[in-house]
């Protein structure tokens, strides 16, 4: 990692130059909510002026740049009694601007799932390798809980990371590509004051978290609470609409559909991002549904995020961005669900008999 400092004006000139030449996406205000607050999304941008650098959080994550909501896996051409398969792994070079540490951590988690398992995904790899990621830090929103998940800082998975130190950005340059891109622009070596400002900024971020979730020991709690009535309680609220999984930066479950071309001379196999909350997620051939109840489906989403990966891969795949909680129309969010679980367990611990004394 190489550290430099760049003035905000010069940084904008740099961004302007790279987005003009490339396919680029950055945070943009797309609407104003009825509460008066701006709503942001990662949108295609053609100049630095189109980017809201001081945005709060995007409604949807940056996941779909790597895992498109719908992705053609292959096309089949039928010829007399036989068929040929065409597969296309090509992904256009893409620049992503303004990702938060939790967003980049989420991509690093997706890397573990998509690239470091027994069957790496060439589709994911093509997109991941052809991306240039510029991260930016921010002061947490009142409901961000990435600190609890230890995902509020990031040290890999990006090309360039910008920490806001007032008039300038403190740059962490993490790739030779980023270094050579920046050569044309005016950079300073960090001074002692710059380093102090960076440390202050980090402290400020760290101490600004208002939402805390206790996740240590959670896999064990979840095992114990498998039959808890809490799942039905939250399941009764769940609309099973899949919104949480769509906006989540790490939900990667999908379904595969095959469709004939209308001329019947070929077909496509499509990957479709799905959600374990959708009613037919666990429905199998013959029609049996292993999880017909809302509460069961909701439970398994929490198990995937907070238990399965922790047990198998020593990490929870939730990064604490709370996009699911913000987007959920039924007001279901990880903080309340997890606190509810722990509360039940801790309140029942109080009625356990005291330890027997020796005498």
């Amino acid at each position: 990692m190489i550290y430099k400092v760049i003035s905000k004006t010069e940084f904008r000139a740099f961004i302007d130059a790279i987005v003009k030449e490339n396919r680029a996406y950055g945070p943009q205000k797309v609407d104003t909510g009825s509460n008066g607050k701006p709503i942001y999304q990662f949108m295609p941008v053609k100049s630095a002026a189109e980017i809201d650098f001081d945005y709060t959080v995007t409604h949807s994550s940056a996941k779909h740049f790597f895992l498109p909501y719908r992705d053609e896996l292959s096309h089949f051409n039928f010829t007399d009694g036989n068929w040929e398969q065409e597969v296309n792994y090509e992904a256009p070079p893409t620049i992503l601007i303004g990702l938060r540490p939790c967003d980049i951590n989420a991509i690093n988690i997706l890397d573990d799932v998509m690239l470091h398992g027994a069957y790496p995904s060439p589709y994911y790899l093509a997109r991941r390798k052809n991306n240039f990621i510029i991260g930016m830090d921010h002061l947490p929103l009142p409901d961000c809980f990435c600190h609890s998940m230890n995902r509020h800082t990031v040290n890999h998975g990006f090309n360039l990371f910008c920490s806001d130190i007032g008039e300038s950005y403190y740059l962490s340059i993490n790739s030779s590509k980023a270094y050579s891109f920046l050569k044309e622009f005016e950079l300073q070596e960090p001074t002692y004051e710059d380093n102090c400002r960076l440390i202050e900024r980090r402290k400020d971020i760290k101490h600004s978290f208002e939402t805390k979730i206790e996740v240590s020991g959670l896999p064990c709690f979840l095992d114990i609470e498998f039959d808890s009535p809490i799942w039905q309680k939250w399941g009764d609220k769940c609309l099973s609409c899949g919104t949480c999984a769509m906006v989540c930066p790490t939900c990667y479950c999908y379904s595969v559909e095959e469709r004939f071309d209308i001329d019947l001379e070929g077909s496509t196999r499509q990957n479709h991002l799905y959600s374990c909350n959708l009613v037919d997620f666990a429905q199998v051939t013959g029609g049996h549904n292993f999880r017909p109840k809302n509460g069961d489906r909701l439970k398994y989403r929490y198990y995937h995020h907070y238990r399965g990966f922790a047990a198998n891969d020593n990490q929870q795949i939730c990064v604490g961005c709370n996009r699911c909680g913000r987007a959920c129309l039924a007001d279901i969010n990880p903080k309340d669900v997890i606190n509810d679980l722990r509360l039940e367990r801790e309140s029942c611990l109080t009625c356990v008999l005291p330890s027997p004394s020796k005498t």
């Binding site: 797309v30 609309l239 609409c241 004939f260 209308i262 001329d263 129309l329």
Partner: protein
């Protein structure tokens, strides 16, 4: 037609309209890019938007519109007797559709308002399944041509045909749309069947549920949502009743 070494016969299709705007049938005749291939799958026996020929030896009947006159009942029963498979397509055929709005007011009042008191043979609007057995429903106002194509291909190739079971929100979120509830509107997206590509919310128009309820919806939670957002229950009911797809939920 030959498909993977199997010979397939074209399916003999008749398309019929009852009380409706014929917009769904027009949808099928639209989208020129796929029209020749689409027609190539079919032996059109009776379809006035497409051909002036009239034959009554169809196997599959596509039925559009709701039933609002007594003579329509006889015609529909005759179609049912001929067809091996009867497909109700469009919201009017599947739920009664917009025509159903007239069921809310006394019939003579409706006639006076629209026809200035002329003698009109009409009765409360009914969906196709109120009269005859429906084998397959393709809802939508209008239907999605892609979905109809997919289902027709399924019928022709004898492969599985199904509608999405999940609600519109899935497709809407995939389009990165702003949730209309965040803009202070009531949208039926969370409880309506997907498959329309969320075309209305994408145009910032709340979903009115033209495709009817998704599978196993959580209506109680939806109603609570409208209350929690301090939106109007009367507005919600108005939307629910627009296409009549949510008739069974109106009294809950």
């Amino acid at each position: 037609m030959n498909h993977l070494g199997f010979k397939m016969d074209k399916v003999k299709v008749g398309s019929f309209d009852f009380t409706c705007c014929e917009g769904c049938q027009l949808q099928l005749a639209n989208k020129e890019s796929t029209l020749p291939d689409f027609l190539n799958l079919l032996d059109i026996r009776n379809f006035r938007e497409i051909s002036s020929e009239r034959h009554n030896d169809y196997d599959i009947a596509l039925v559009e519109g709701s039933i609002t006159r007594s003579d329509e009942i006889d015609r529909l029963k005759a179609i049912r007797a001929q067809a091996t498979v009867l497909i109700a397509f469009g919201s009017c055929a599947c739920f009664g559709g917009v025509n159903n709005l007239k069921n809310r007011i006394p019939q003579d009042e409706a006639i006076r308002e629209v026809y200035d008191g002329k003698t009109i043979d009409t009765m409360p609007s009914m969906k196709i399944s109120d009269i005859v057995q429906v084998d397959l429903s393709i809802p939508g106002c209008p239907v999605s041509k892609e979905e109809v194509e997919r289902i027709v291909i399924g019928v022709v190739t004898r492969s599985q045909v199904s509608l999405p079971k999940y609600p519109v929100c899935v497709d809407c979120k995939q389009k990165l749309n702003t949730c209309l509830f965040d803009l202070g509107e009531i949208c039926l997206g969370p409880i309506s069947r997907a498959g329309c590509d969320a075309v209305c919310p994408t145009g910032k128009t709340p979903c009115l549920g033209c495709r009817g309820p998704a599978d196993d919806i959580n209506f109680a939670s939806f109603k609570q949502l409208v209350k929690d957002k301090q939106l109007s229950i009367a507005d919600m009911r108005e939307k629910l009743s627009f296409y009549n797809g949510f008739a069974e939920y109106l009294d809950t």
